[in-house]
């Protein structure tokens, strides 16, 4: 049965006819998103470059090559182009880019949405694209009028001449597309921006308030079937024997098949597939992780720390000698737990495999990797796989992995029909690519004059990068990245890294190295301040004399939060960080009564350079703080017998509306180049709160989550 639906005719298809030569030639029927009209093919017009299509009817389509997962790229990136193109932002239709060379993120070396650098990568690229297209549109008009292009100007989607004539961009597009591509276009100075720096409304909001926004879970294709997947409960295990006799006779079931990812049940509807999956009788071969648990993981990391001094990631002076001659030393061990991403939209993928092609519909942060994974599962070449990126119901790094793609492709191939494979929440929680655990061993020393003379830090952790990019040659995992950027002035500094695998896959999670490293660095800085009987603020400022942007955000955050003047019963803790070329300071205001912690307020001052859209920046900072609060207070994935014990939101607690503290987010105006905003603010939450807990109780927390500690 099919019933009338607001969305029933919304699925269009993106056809990539050719990607020829060095330039990108696209013949596309571009699907719009967010409930905008997309039933008609674009009228004749022109594809002015890889990011811009102007149709004869004046509709303007911007192709965005980063995935929209809430961080606002479907608004911020079009703003960059629209600034130079001289068009109204609200007129733009956004479509997701297919796989293509033009769409590689130069800062990440692939078509990757991650590392909080979408705006940094696009900052010049898309403004140049807009200016180039504008120049070509003006040239087309000037040619028609037989005047000097210098006598024409572009404004609000029109080119006007000095003698009062005008053409719309739609009139000009087909001619403009054939004009020579200008080199060295001049970009507007900041003073001339009319759009960049404004809180223009997000282009994706309308579709997100009426249910029409299309996430991967919402993809509909004619004749589509649904699939559920049974994965081995023990991480890394596999099915030894499958008895599908009960499942195969259940209503709607079309096929049960074994894949490398697990046993897939394909049915007419998802609920049928799920019931039949749960009726499978599978004998699992648990494999090497049968006895893995948290104690074993911490034991393995501790042994590795003792056995190995680690590879040197940063060395200034001679930390060992300075520690030996120090007047006073301090040492501590910190531990960071495994975490789950827990995106609200569980992993899912829709595949339509034909003899010579595969159409993939997926919320992914890595289009090329999705293409390769699908090609391998379908037995096709990568260029036979067409990747349609949907909106992502949260990414946070989880969708940098494509482990949910191959089973969907295998199922579609087996039943010769489009298949949407959906993970349940329990599948998602128990088969994440978890944030790796880390053990961080710290020591520091003050010299006879009371100056911080030595800082030594040894990080022991499994590697994300070794699995994600096995061809890479960098021996340092991204988990050490922020520690290597330690900002405080200390003459003798040693950072070492020991890679130690724990038998399960670990992945990138929002604020990848920053969250663990900032917790440790900022907590240990507070320990040093206490040892030196100095204020945590004063000690930091003393060591930031050559770091003006750090010092500025720290001072302002302290001032806004009332540092030194906490209300009765309240205590303050602070944290500082530069991450993703954004400078932040946070102050947490807490109370601890009868062992019960309450976080009353978080103050956050942010210098992220030039802002494209301050309202989106502010929302990302709020978002990151809430994300950081869940992790700091409760975040922990526990394993026993190789199985993850957290299965749903009742055992993996996330912050709810009644638990959000007051937030004071203050954004600094800056002329510096744009920094990243999606991730960094996560990292400061845990150390700021734990430093405030120390101020309140004298108790130093050297592991997370806070809920695992007794505060009373």
């Amino acid at each position: 049965l099919s019933a009338p639906s607001a969305n029933s005719s919304r699925r269009d298809f993106c056809k990539r006819a050719a990607a020829a030569g060095g330039g990108l030639v696209l013949a596309m029927t571009l699907p719009a998103f967010g409930g905008r009209s997309r039933s008609r093919a674009p009228a004749a017009g022109g594809q002015l470059n890889a990011w811009l299509q102007v149709a004869a009817d004046n509709s303007i389509t911007v192709i965005v090559d980063r995935s929209e997962m809430g961080q606002g790229v479907y608004t911020a990136l079009p703003m960059l182009l629209a600034e130079e193109l001289e068009i109204d932002l609200a007129r733009i239709n956004v479509v997701a880019a297919p796989v293509g060379d033009a769409y590689v993120n130069a800062l990440n070396g692939g078509q990757i949405t991650g590392t909080s650098n979408s705006v940094q990568d696009a900052w010049e690229k898309l403004r140049i694209a807009g200016a180039t297209a504008r120049t070509m549109l003006i040239a087309a008009a000037a040619q028609a009028w037989r005047v000097d292009p210098a006598q024409c100007h572009a404004r609000n989607g029109m080119v006007a001449s000095a003698h009062g004539k005008s053409f719309s961009y739609g009139d000009l597009a087909s001619v403009a597309a054939k004009m020579p591509v200008p080199k060295d276009v001049k970009l507007k100075p900041k003073a001339a921006f009319r759009l960049i720096g404004t809180s223009a409304p997000r282009l994706d909001t309308p579709g997100k308030v009426d249910g029409s926004a299309e996430f991967g879970l919402d993809v509909k294709l004619p004749g589509m079937l649904y699939a559920a997947l049974a994965q081995c409960p023990t991480l890394g295990g596999k099915a030894a024997a499958v008895d599908a006799s009960r499942s195969e006779i259940m209503p709607g079931v079309r096929r049960v098949l074994s894949t490398a990812s697990g046993v897939v049940v394909v049915a007419d509807h998802f609920w049928q597939a799920l019931q039949a999956r749960d009726a499978l009788r599978i004998t699992w071969e648990p494999g090497a992780n049968a006895r893995l648990d948290n104690a074993a993981i911490w034991g393995v990391l501790e042994q590795a720390a003792a056995a190995n001094q680690g590879l040197v990631a940063r060395k200034d002076g001679d930390a060992a000698a300075a520690l030996k001659s120090a007047q006073r030393t301090l040492a501590a061990v910190y531990e960071l737990p495994l975490l789950a991403h827990a995106t609200m939209e569980p992993m899912n993928c829709t595949a339509d495999v034909k003899a010579d092609r595969c159409d993939l519909y997926v919320g992914t942060q890595v289009q090329q990797m999705a293409q390769e994974a699908a090609a391998a599962a379908a037995g096709l070449k990568p260029n036979q796989v067409n990747v349609n990126t949907t909106l992502l119901g949260g990414g946070f790094g989880r969708r940098l992995d494509v482990d949910f793609v191959p089973a969907a492709v295998a199922a579609s191939k087996a039943v010769a029909a489009p298949v949407k494979l959906i993970w349940t929440r329990e599948d998602d929680m128990t088969h994440d690519m978890y944030r790796p655990p880390a053990r961080e061993q710290m020591s520091a020393g003050f010299d006879a004059a009371g100056r911080l003379a030595a800082w030594k830090m040894h990080i022991i952790s499994p590697s994300i990068t070794a699995r994600f990019a096995p061809a890479g040659t960098d021996p340092f995992d991204s988990v050490v990245e922020y520690a290597a950027n330690y900002p405080y002035a200390v003459p003798n500094f040693l950072l070492t890294y020991t890679r130690k695998e724990i038998g399960i896959d670990v992945g990138y999670m929002r604020s990848v190295s920053h969250a663990p490293n900032c917790f440790v660095i900022e907590s240990f800085m507070d320990e040093l301040a206490a040892a030196a009987s100095k204020s945590p603020l004063d000690l930091r400022l003393e060591l930031l004399a050559r770091k003006p942007r750090h010092a500025a955000v720290l001072k302002l955050a302290a001032q806004r939060a009332g540092w030194g003047h906490a209300p009765p019963g309240r205590h303050l803790g602070l944290a500082l960080m530069e991450g993703y070329t954004t400078y932040l300071a946070q102050v947490a205001e807490v109370s601890v009564n009868g062992g019960v912690l309450k976080v009353h307020k978080i103050t956050c001052v942010v210098d992220c350079g030039q802002m494209v859209n301050p309202r989106i920046v502010e929302s990302q900072i709020e978002s990151a703080i809430v994300f950081g609060l869940s992790a700091a207070l409760w975040g922990e994935v526990t394993i026993s017998a190789g199985q993850v014990r957290q299965r749903n939101f009742n055992s993996y607690r996330l912050l709810r509306s009644n638990e959000v503290p007051e937030l004071d987010v203050h954004l600094l105006d800056s002329d510096a180049p744009p920094g990243g905003i999606g991730e960094p603010a996560v990292a400061l939450v845990a150390p700021a709160i734990c430093n405030a807990i120390f101020a309140a109780t004298g108790k130093r927390l050297r592991s997370l989550p806070i809920a695992a500690h007794t505060l009373g």
Binding site: A3, M69, D204, V209, G211, F215, L217, M344, S619
Partner: protein
Amino acid sequence: MARITVNNQRLDVDAAPDTPLLWVLRDHLGMTGTKYGCGMALCGACTVHVDGVAMRSCILPLRMLEGKAVTTIEGLSKDRTHPVQRAWIELDVPQCGYCQSGQIMSAAALLKSNPRPSDAEIDAAMAGNICRCGTYLRIRKAIHRATELLPPPDPQS
């Protein structure tokens, strides 16, 4: 074959009686605005109205809906003009947006029973809806804004 009323339309559905309303809406009726998040009424992503009351459709079997009126996000208004939707647009509440259908349905149900909720009443009413992007403070502001956009109370009532 079951007959249910969704967004003022009477519809026949060929699904097993234990099928949760969530999957009936999404897979049988093509109304994908209502989202799957947890399957256990823990996150609120699947919130719809049943006879005007916010309910979690992921645990409501089809057989319980005989004679009831279901409203989904698609039926809240024809053109995003419900006060809650207008407020959400004005404040640019959504980030990834996945939970927002459920948030909006919960907020709309709250305002129906309490047209002037306090912060604490909003937090209590919305505590069943998880937003992993952390849009909670904007949701609270938008609910207050929506109260200003509500039509004036009917003098007859």
